[in-house]
């Protein structure tokens, strides 16, 4: 690691002013991506601002059909929550036990790794991302590869999810890293069907063609008729874009079969 100044503010305001005053600062939440990156010397921030000591940013609360997850809530806590079983299931499959004990939802979605799990839920469960500055609709939040609607210095304080009538998350893990090669969250809320896909593209997205087909006929068979355009999908040594496209279909079917 290169040298940096470590800070551990106790309020959000303090965190933001540290960031504003830093030459090249970076927030640290769980550190599951940032710390390995620093160890590899692939980043050299001047200041690391740890959000871990700021009170009020953790916990899962349920209020009137909305589940609110604090930005610094560990994956393991969400995995143990009961309000949205599919969300708990998703959280229980992030990384490994140690990642779940340290990693946070805010850190995950602020990073916007194309293969992270949470983004599938953010786009599929009508989420609202609350930050120190504003609220952002889940569908507008992810903007590209490791890119989000967040501005410099903005901190994710909580994420609200709508409780669906039914939902399921299906994941095809990278055999080595356990990231999602493809992850699909299917949610049904009245007549509305949401299909959130992670791993396949530059960032999480809603598969609208699948959603339309499933809105007309909510059955696994309905997926078969949908052509999945994989031309812009990711490709690596574990899965070609074509295979990812195939998996989006397979996982969607399986998710539908679970909840149909």
């Amino acid at each position: 690691m290169y040298q940096f100044n470590y800070h551990r503010p106790s309020t959000l305001d303090e965190a933001r002013s540290l960031m504003a005053g830093a030459e090249d600062g970076v927030y640290l939440s769980g550190g599951m991506t940032l710390i390995p990156t620093l160890k590899q010397r692939l980043a050299s921030p001047s200041d690391v601002i740890d959000l871990g000591a700021i009170p009020g940013l953790t916990g899962v609360t349920v209020n009137d059909g909305t589940v609110s997850v604090g930005g610094m809530t560990r994956h393991s806590e969400v995995a143990a929550s009961e309000a949205i079983p599919a969300l708990a299931d998703l959280a229980s499959r992030i990384g490994d036990a140690h990642v779940r004990n340290r990693g946070t939802i805010g850190g995950s979605i602020a990073n916007s790794d194309p293969a992270a799990d949470y983004p599938a839920a953010v786009v599929a469960l009508g989420a609202t991302v609350h930050t120190t500055n504003r609220s952002i609709a889940g569908s507008d939040y992810f903007t590209g590869l490791f890119e989000t609607a967040l501005h410099d210095g903005e901190i994710v304080t909580s994420v609200d999810f709508c409780v669906p009538d039914a939902a399921a998350y299906e994941k095809f893990p990278n055999p080595a890293s356990r990231y999602a090669v493809v992850g699909v969250m299917v949610a049904r809320c009245g007549d509305c069907i949401c299909v959130g896909v992670t791993g396949a593209g530059a960032c999480a997205f809603r598969a609208t063609a699948l959603e339309e087909a499933l809105a007309a006929d909510f059955s696994p068979g309905a997926v078969d008729g949908v052509g999945i355009d994989h031309s812009e999908y990711n490709s690596d040594i574990h899965a070609s874009a074509e295979f990812r496209g195939h998996l989006v279909g397979v996982l969607t079917k399986r998710a539908v079969a679970t909840i149909a």
């Binding site: 690691m1 290169y2 040298q3 940096f4 100044n5 470590y6 551990r8 640290l28 550190g31 599951m32 710390i35 390995p36 620093l38 160890k39 590899q40 690391v48 740890d50 871990g52 393991s76 990384g95 490994d96 036990a97 140690h98 990642v99 004990n101 340290r102 890293s177 356990r178």
Partner: protein, 153 residues
């Protein structure tokens, strides 16, 4: 900077660099070399310790993040005359060969069993150990040991 933490029940105050890792504090500042380093991408699990009751990879925790924490390492769970049931199960089931992954594996296994409520089956144990690599045992005897320790505790 100075940090204070409780390690294996004893309060410790150590002066560390801002960019120090918890594993550096344990191995270098405190001489607790039972916690090992086997990779640099937070995958192998040789460095697992308990922090505030959870199994974590100490190579992926900054020393500052551990300020004020209660940390338990392999050295803190038992000794040759009074082994932790998980240590005993590892020995009884030949769940280790070269021993390098063993401390991290045992610390993960203890956390797994503690949180498993006595209900772990083989699949759950295999799942629960996905964050710890072992190159010697093929995991067969590790899984046996964890299941045995679950029934003995």
């Amino acid at each position: 900077m100075e940090i204070t933490l409780t390690v294996n029940g004893a309060a410790k105050t150590v002066d560390v660099a801002d960019n120090a890792l918890l594993v550096d504090v344990l191995r270098e500042s405190l001489g607790l070399t039972g916690t090992h380093v086997g990779c640099d991408t937070s995958q192998c699990g040789a460095c697992v310790v308990h922090m505030n009751g959870d199994a974590v990879k100490s190579c992926t925790v900054l020393a500052g993040q551990a300020n004020g924490a209660d940390v338990t390492t392999i050295e803190g769970i038992g000794n040759p005359d009074d082994l932790h049931p998980m240590q005993e199960a590892f020995r009884d089931n030949h769940a280790l060969q070269c021993g390098f992954c063993t401390p991290g594996m045992i610390m993960s296994a203890i956390d797994l069993v503690q949180k498993g409520g006595g209900a772990l089956d083989e699949a759950a144990v295999r799942d629960g150990l996905e964050g710890n690599l072992c190159r010697c045992t093929g995991y067969h005897n590790i899984v046996k040991a964890v299941l045995a320790a679950q029934s003995s505790t």
